[in-house]
């Protein structure tokens, strides 16, 4: 697994259920960030030249390589639009989210 995924988390009901000391499991995500998004990036694979500029500049690391294609993890993309703005071929379009 190259990236953590959302896990179910049951909040402890007793103080003994909380972690002792400052340690906690690495890569434990109890929540997604998808709700932050107003616009979602959509990749046009016909114009994409796979230069990986978007992969490099994504502040959240949600753009990943999927068998030679650019893919986006929509669970954690915040829709900041850096990828679309930096794309040299304008192959990423920011589409308004429909509720």
């Amino acid at each position: 697994m190259s990236r953590p995924v959302k896990q179910n988390f049951i909040r402890p009901t007793h103080i003994e259920g909380f972690p002792v000391g400052p340690q906690f499991t690495a890569g434990h995500l109890a929540d997604t960030n998808a709700g932050w998004r107003t616009f979602r990036p959509v990749v046009n694979h016909d114009t994409c030249i796979y230069c990986l500029r978007c992969y490099l500049v994504c502040p959240d690391g949600t753009i990943f390589k999927d068998n030679g294609k650019i893919a986006v993890d929509y669970d954690y993309c915040k829709g900041c639009g850096v990828c679309a703005h930096e794309c040299p071929k304008n192959a990423i379009e920011m589409v308004k989210e429909q509720l």
Partner: protein, 304 residues
């Protein structure tokens, strides 16, 4: 050049697919989180990371979330370098092999509050890579002026009014302060030039001893810029000469980017809410300060 050239250069094609800073709660378009993400991807899984009280600690460690997939810890605000020193020597004493210790702090945690701990860390020669992501104010607590806030910036503690136009002081010359310790390796970088930043992190990771990288990282919230331009604005800061890319190695300074002609300072400043109030005279004084600084850097540093 150094032995780093014999290593395979890390590029987007061969960088690890693993994400070590993922699902964090930083603002959309955060430049600091990009700096942390790229550095951890270069350094790999066997990295101990230390973060002082600052944005990255606030967005990464929200119980029951843990956005780091490597070993990471929050430290006291002034003590990130001391904590990282302790981790490095502690892990060595335990016989742990093949690891790197890295400290990430913002501009306030480095240039103001954490400066003495950092100075001590370099002095002792501890094997730590220290990365300062510079967003030019205390962003986590609500945009207060720090030692690295440049002249004319509007922050909540240096508001722009009729008589005083934002911050009255110039940006501290942190890079030369660190280089003056005779550190084995120090560099400045910008998230606007991500490949250059990756190269410098890779080079710094090979250093046995203290290394320092000052990376310019934009903050859409504090700077008043649209989220999508946060990489572009960090590139423009370098292009217009208000931030420079340089290295200090084996006692020599070197400009890694020496543009023949600067882009317009006014264009760069006017894109940001924090500089909206600046008058033409203020911009001219910022340009004069830039030219003076570059004249000295080119005269003293450039041996190519």
């Amino acid at each position: 050049m150094s032995s780093a050239n014999t290593l395979t250069r890390i590029t987007p094609k061969n960088i690890t697919d693993q994400e070590f800073f993922y699902g964090h709660k930083a603002c959309a378009g955060c430049g600091g989180s990009l700096a942390v993400r790229l550095a951890l991807k270069v350094l790999g899984e066997r990295t101990y990371a230390a973060f002082p009280a600052g944005c990255m600690a606030a967005v990464g460690f929200i119980y029951p979330q843990m956005a780091f997939t490597n070993n990471a810890i929050i430290t006291t605000f002034p003590g990130v370098a001391s904590m990282a020193s302790g981790i490095a020597v502690g892990a060595k004493a335990l016989g742990i092999q093949n690891f790197k210790t890295v400290a990430f702090a913002g501009d306030g945690g480095t240039a103001d509050i954490g400066l003495q701990a950092l100075s001590g860390m370099i002095d002792r020669g501890d094997d730590v890579l220290y990365i300062c992501y510079d967003n030019e104010a205390y962003m986590n607590t609500g945009i207060q002026k720090s030692g690295l806030t440049p002249f004319g910036t509007q922050t909540t503690t240096t508001p722009a009014g009729k008589n005083i136009h934002g911050s009255k002081t110039q940006k501290k010359n942190l890079f030369e302060i660190i280089a003056a310790h005779d550190i084995p390796y120090a560099a400045t970088a910008s998230i606007g030039y991500p490949q250059d930043y990756i190269d410098k992190v890779q080079k710094a990771a090979q250093v046995k001893g203290p290394a320092f990288i000052h990376v310019y990282a934009s903050c859409p919230t504090g700077w008043g810029t649209p989220t999508e331009t946060s990489v572009e604005i960090a590139k423009e800061a370098v292009d217009c000469g208000l931030f420079f890319l340089a290295e200090y190695e084996n006692g020599d300074y070197r400009l890694t980017r020496n543009p023949k002609q600067f882009a317009s300072v006014a264009d760069y400043l006017k894109k940001q809410g924090r500089f909206k109030h600046l008058s033409d005279a203020d911009i001219a004084s910022i340009e004069a300060h830039r030219d003076h600084k570059w004249e000295r850097m080119r005269r003293m540093w450039n041996h190519q």
